[in-house]
Chain length 333, copies 2
């Protein structure tokens, strides 16, 4: 049988997150997309139940892909899996996930055996960056730094056109680059990590601290007076509605992210920095002052060489990138 | 004529610094070494006079190499040049050097034309890192982060076995990664750069600040009471002699460098960090507390994967690396 053309062969992708699993498929050339179905994950489910859900969802997307294209199962080349880390890529192990409580779990092989297809495993933030590079806002970049900012801050590095993994697959922990070595304690044990200032929970925490001064603000009313319910999304909402204190928190977030991104420009001299995740949804209100802070701090030749853009794939970046990691690791791109 | 064996072919190297020019030659396989002569540079000399000195020294080393080996001029393959940056590698230009006052100076072609050999140009800190990787303390590394700490702090990155240059040849400005974004003003205009804390002049400045408290110390006597003459080397001398205040400055330097190196571990997950330059001469008194600070701050899988070592080539790292950049850019290694 002649080998099919790239648009007639398909790769499945899994984005495993602490709260959701997203599964989809794409043609090898990236022009066609199937599935992108989402279901909740819960730590309490246990690893076996999570694998079962992933496998069911893969089978559903596989069936949909074959139905939509008339392709046979042979046209499905394999599964790229993105997972929170740290990971052992070579052995396909999830070494540890705080959110799911796994240790040394052979996720790649468990999924591969259940669906009867080859599989690859890579870090979720690496996948998101590769996804934006392949089909999203970072297309055309050769040296790309990606930040995914949500509950935590993940990083991905594409250097000289390929994902960079480091000596033991834990490179790119950009949320744990220090911006103030005597500053806020971070969940990782270090002090002053970018994540301790600019992740979603850190933004809510800084807003609570700002409110403690007693200045009038619409934020307490948004959470019925229970400030523990305050989120970055609500801070953004208050800022959009003109709340002065919330606006200050957003501007401060831009300044802090700008300091972190300026660092990355001086270190990597990238052509593209792509920022994705919930925290970047504030749009120009965040990006404009952040870019100004980067210009103020980073070397001019590095600033001149780099565009700083929001991701364009939204919740799909991880799956698209998981598919791309499979393609890259199998020499298909 | 049959092509000679690698140990019968030679590459010349130039390390252009703000205070010295070092020139040497090595066999392509790195086993034999010639020259390594040093002469002073002075900004007041002007670019033409500097080029003239470089060319004279190259001719001297070329003659010595041929005399020592019996090789003909054909066996001299070319000249690798390391220079302070920023540079335009492709066009062979020194875009700007604060110490020499050059702008857009075509150093590579000026040298190449004068000696009648092909030449390459790369950043001095890149060269020092590549030198330590080829023949020094970082041998065997695949992902190597190099810091050269003297008047300033330069950085070099070897990622997946090759020098990483970034989008416009200014990657690796590791001295200008922030460790405290609201901290000390740096010469580069940013705040809290590692260089503003741990370069030679910054160490002397911190020692002067420590002395301002009026505690007894042997340091003022070392400079005849003129604290403006205090240097990092004298702080180290006082520390070796047991001066309490000087010891504190050294330990604080180790802590600050440790914070910076921990950052680099979380970002790059290197197998090797090599630190060279005058400031690293303090040996274990600096390295032991620095390694402890790195262990305290960086992710364990990154710490476990990485050795942190002093450079072993001393003043030769830059020349050896300039020779290696020529070899690497010409596909000889």
């Amino acid at each position: 049988m002649a080998r099919s053309a790239p648009h007639d062969r398909y790769i499945l992708g899994v984005d495993l997150g602490g709260t959701n699993i997203v599964v989809g498929a794409m043609s090898v050339d990236g022009t066609r997309e199937f599935g992108m179905h989402e279901i909740p994950t819960r730590a309490a489910m246990g690893a076996d139940a999570v694998v079962e859900r992933i496998v069911q969802l893969i089978e559903r997307v596989a069936a949909e892909t074959m139905a939509a294209t008339g392709a046979s199962r042979d046209a499905l080349l394999g599964v790229g899996i993105g997972s929170p880390g740290p990971l052992d890529r070579e052995r396909g192990l999830v070494i540890f996930t705080p959110n799911l409580g796994w240790r040394d779990f052979p996720l790649r092989d468990r999924v591969s055996e259940a669906v009867g297809l080859p599989a690859t495993l890579d870090n979720d933030a690496n996948c998101a960056t590769l996804g934006e590079w392949w089909r999203g806002a970072a297309q055309g970049g050769r040296n790309v730094v990606g930040l995914t900012i949500g509950t935590g801050i993940g990083g991905g590095l594409i250097l000289d056109g390929r994902l960079y993994h480091g000596a033991s697959d834990v490179a790119g922990e950009l949320g744990h680059a220090t911006i103030d070595s005597t500053g806020r304690r971070c969940g990782c044990g270090n002090y002053g990590c970018l994540e301790a200032y600019a992740s979603g929970p850190a933004i809510a925490e800084r807003a609570r601290e700002a409110l403690a001064g007693g200045e009038p603000s619409s934020m307490p009313a948004l959470v019925g007076g229970d400030l523990s319910r305050l989120t970055a999304a609500l801070v953004y909402q208050a800022a959009r509605e003109g709340d002065r204190l919330a606006l200050e928190v957003v501007r401060e977030t831009a300044r802090l992210l700008g300091a972190g991104v300026a660092n990355l420009l001086n270190i990597f001299n990238p052509d593209t920095v792509v920022l994705a995740g919930g925290v970047t949804q504030a749009g120009d209100a965040l990006f404009e002052p952040m870019r100004a802070e980067v210009r103020r701090r980073a070397f001019k030749p590095a600033v001149d060489a780099c565009r700083i853009v929001p991701g364009s794939l939204q919740g799909k970046a991880g799956v698209v990138g998981a598919i791309a990691t499979f393609a890259q690791q199998q020499g298909l791109m």
